[in-house]
């Protein structure tokens, strides 16, 4: 830039809608923004467009509007995956939140060994989901697995953990709960330790039982933390893949097909990218809808009360 141009710059800056420092900021951030656009926004947009085409490897890719979406929404396999996803998400999140809160209250106490317990709680979330999937696959193996071996020790019948449709879904939920409950514990523990002590002390002086203190004081104060935990888990369960893939590959007969697994099978086994993209966007829409309900309903209730 010439010296003259540099002297003229302040005049031009006045006409710009953005201050000069902002312009410079955007310029400096532009490489990172471009990378973000290239690796995040572009694939998202591309796959969204793909969901409106019959996109396989046949060479032609005709536009079919919402055909892929309607095929899936009325399709047997998608509805099976949707049912599995709903059961998986509701059951695992419920168990993780309830058990997570109970364990957090327990380890928040001043009992012996709680420091060690808190450290051990870090282990499951630190293990890669693929490793968890493989471990549980062997634990639940009917012939060689530890779980059925223990059942046999007590003269109990074998349970076909991964071979029976209902038990297979239970098995993947157990694996998910094992890995993610400690994360809930850690979140709730952080929340519990930051609660103000005055209301609890006042309630104790007034003769409230521990349960009454928990139900009427701790739980309402913990609501923001619980909401964050729920949000994280809802997002997470809608993108669960590794554990299920390694334990059952969505089987037997689609009994543990979650939306992500079903989408993967469509893309990489059926080589049908249009339907796979449509399933992914339906899953995304559903998780956004559930999150909207989670945050929207309390907000609406609060607003109506205010009126």
């Amino acid at each position: 830039m010439s010296a003259v141009a540099q002297h003229q710059a302040p005049g031009r800056r006045r006409r710009s809608p953005l201050p000069y420092t902002w312009q410079r900021g955007y310029l400096l951030a532009s490489p990172a923004l471009l990378v973000m656009l290239a690796i995040l926004v572009y694939p998202l947009g591309y796959s969204f467009i793909m969901s409106f085409f019959r996109w396989d490897l046949s060479g032609s890719a005709p536009f079919i509007g919402t055909g892929n979406y309607s095929d899936e929404l009325f399709g047997r396999q998608f509805n099976q995956a949707l049912r599995n996803q709903t059961i998986f998400s509701v059951v695992s999140i419920t168990i993780e939140v309830v058990a997570g809160m109970a364990i957090a209250v327990l380890v928040n106490g001043k009992l012996r060994g709680m420091r060690l317990a808190r450290t051990l709680l870090l282990v499951p979330p630190m293990i890669a989901p693929a490793v968890v999937g493989l471990n549980f696959r062997w634990l639940f193996n009917t012939q060689y697995g530890l779980v059925d071996a223990l059942l046999r020790m007590f003269n109990l019948p074998d349970i076909p953990w991964l071979n029976h449709p209902a038990w297979a879904l239970v098995s993947v939920i157990v694996a998910d709960v094992w890995q993610n409950t400690p994360l809930m514990v850690l979140l709730f523990l952080a929340g519990l330790q930051s609660l103000p002590q005055e209301p609890l002390e006042a309630a104790t002086v007034d003769g409230a039982t521990p349960w009454q203190r928990f139900w009427h004081i701790v739980l309402p104060l913990m609501r923001p933390v619980i909401m964050i935990a729920l949000m994280l888990r809802i997002i997470d369960t809608f993108r669960t893949f590794d554990v299920v893939w390694l334990m059952t590959q969505g089987g037997p007969g689609g009994a543990t097909n979650l939306l992500t697994v079903y989408s993967y099978l469509l893309a990489f086994q059926a080589v049908d990218f249009g339907h796979a993209a449509a399933v992914s966007y339906i899953a995304l829409g559903m998780s956004l809808f559930v999150l909207g309900l989670l945050y929207g309903v309390p907000w609406l209730i609060a607003k109506r009360r205010a009126i």
Binding site: S58, R76, N141, T142, L162, G253, G254, A255, A270, V271
Partner: protein, 426 residues
């Protein structure tokens, strides 16, 4: 020249560095006589095998080959992704007949690179199912045959006075006599592509087929229902197969047999080498082979691992030279020596059979019969998607979620719609 770096110079230099970094691999490749390949692996011997093949090829032709190795499932996923992206990253792919119809528009036809007499060297069943039935284009060239025979525990059979099963009924009878005390008479896969192949075998043996003369689904015929019912009953009724087999694929099956838990298995040619190796088998010297079982017919899958040329490749001539080398006589002999992979070339197969002795010679003749009677599912438009539908349908029947008849009827209705949409009837 001023020592100050202006904003314009900084941006220009950044753009030049980025462009240079992106273009560097292509420039480097353009300047050397080099091709790239995505090749299959599986087990510790494969990397050494490919290293030798590539070294020998380079020594002979001067063409360098840069290659990556992947096992079958990730390899398939990667080829799907690269084909969808119309990538030219690899000139050559390892592939398989199982999903070949998906790639008819992405692999360059090999017809013009192989003369009729060269193609006649290969087993006809392999070449037939690598062709696009609409255009006649050859999508890939077979590298080795993937057919199965019966592997059984000769020591246990002898001890109990049993002979390997020849028919479906005998398979159940023998299995019942062997099952107990933590051991099973048989293992079959129950998940994914291996389950579909097993169902195919039984379907053909029962006298059925995948499609009728008009290419409409026919696997839900009486023969198909009988085949799936028999398959399910092996696990659920007769219980001669471990219940976990519902989730088993090839590796689990092979491990059940090689660990000594199961006394019979239908496995591919590579199993002969694995079972003979003390590092990978606990039953070395305790097993033998027999022909695949039969019912109304003695038919089973005879498919092949193959080599394909990427349609996007900019070095097709050099890539085809490599492909020809990998399916050539030396490479096929080496494959057999190292992994007992059955050659796709009829002449080399005859050569190894003639040189073999004892049980190995018997086994090779059994395999040759399987291949001569072998078939594969049709390569019609949309059939890859039908296959994934079948994975689920077969698994549902095997795990007793629905009856074989309901499962196949439902799948047949959906399969026809899938093929119609894909243009199989246009």
């Amino acid at each position: 020249m001023s020592g100050n770096l202006s904003r314009r110079k900084f941006l220009a230099a950044s753009a030049a560095v980025t462009a240079g970094s992106i273009a560097a691999p292509w420039i480097a490749r353009a300047q050397t006589n080099e091709i790239t390949a995505l090749l299959i692996t599986g087990g510790p011997l494969y990397p050494k095998y490919w290293e030798k093949i590539v070294q020998d090829f380079t020594a002979k032709t001067g063409i360098k080959v840069r290659y990556d190795l992947l096992e079958f499932t990730p390899l398939t996923a990667k080829v799907v992704t690269l084909s969808a992206a119309r990538s030219s990253q690899y000139d050559v792919y390892s592939t398989h007949t199982a999903q070949i119809d998906s790639y008819f528009n992405h692999f360059a036809p090999l017809n013009s690179y192989f003369s009729d007499s060269e193609l006649a060297e290969f087993y006809p069943v392999a070449v037939k199912y690598l062709r696009d039935p609409k255009t006649g284009n050859l999508a890939a060239i077979p590298r080795n045959m993937d057919a199965r025979v019966q592997y059984y525990r000769s020591d246990i059979y002898q001890e109990k006075g049993l002979k390997p099963a020849e028919t479906w009924e005998e398979l159940v009878d023998v299995g019942l006599k062997l099952t107990g005390n933590g051991h099973y008479g048989l293992v079959v896969p129950g998940q994914g592509d291996p389950a579909q192949r097993t169902f195919s075998d039984l379907l053909w043996q029962a006298g059925g087929d995948w499609v009728d003369q008009a290419n409409k689904p026919a696997f839900n015929s009486e023969a198909g229902i009988r085949a799936l019912t028999f398959y399910r009953d092996l696990i659920q009724k007769h219980k001669i197969v471990p219940s976990d087999a519902v989730g088993y694929q090839w590796n689990e099956n092979s491990t059940e047999f090689s660990s000594g838990t199961v006394y019979a298995n239908f496995d591919w040619p590579g199993a002969f080498a694995t079972l003979s190796n003390p590092e990978t088998s606990r039953i070395v010297g305790k097993w033998s082979t027999a022909p695949y079982v039969r019912d109304k017919a003695a038919i089973s899958c005879a498919i092949s691992h193959a080599m394909a040329l990427n349609g996007q490749s900019g070095r097709k001539e050099a890539a085809v030279e490599f492909i020809k080398y990998t399916v050539g006589a030396d490479a096929q002999r080496l494959q057999f020596e190292q992994f007992t992979n059955f050659p796709s070339s009829q002449a080399i197969a005859k050569e190894v059979i003639a040189a073999a002795k004892g049980p190995q010679a018997t086994w090779l003749r059994q395999l040759e019969t399987t291949i001569a009677n072998g078939k594969e599912w049709p390569k019609l438009a949309g059939f890859s998607k039908v296959c994934t539908l079948m994975f689920s349908a077969i698994e549902q029947a095997l795990s007793d979620q629905v009856s074989p008849a309901d499962s196949l009827n439902q799948a047949a209705t959906e399969a026809e719609e899938i093929m119609r949409r894909a243009g199989a009837y246009d």
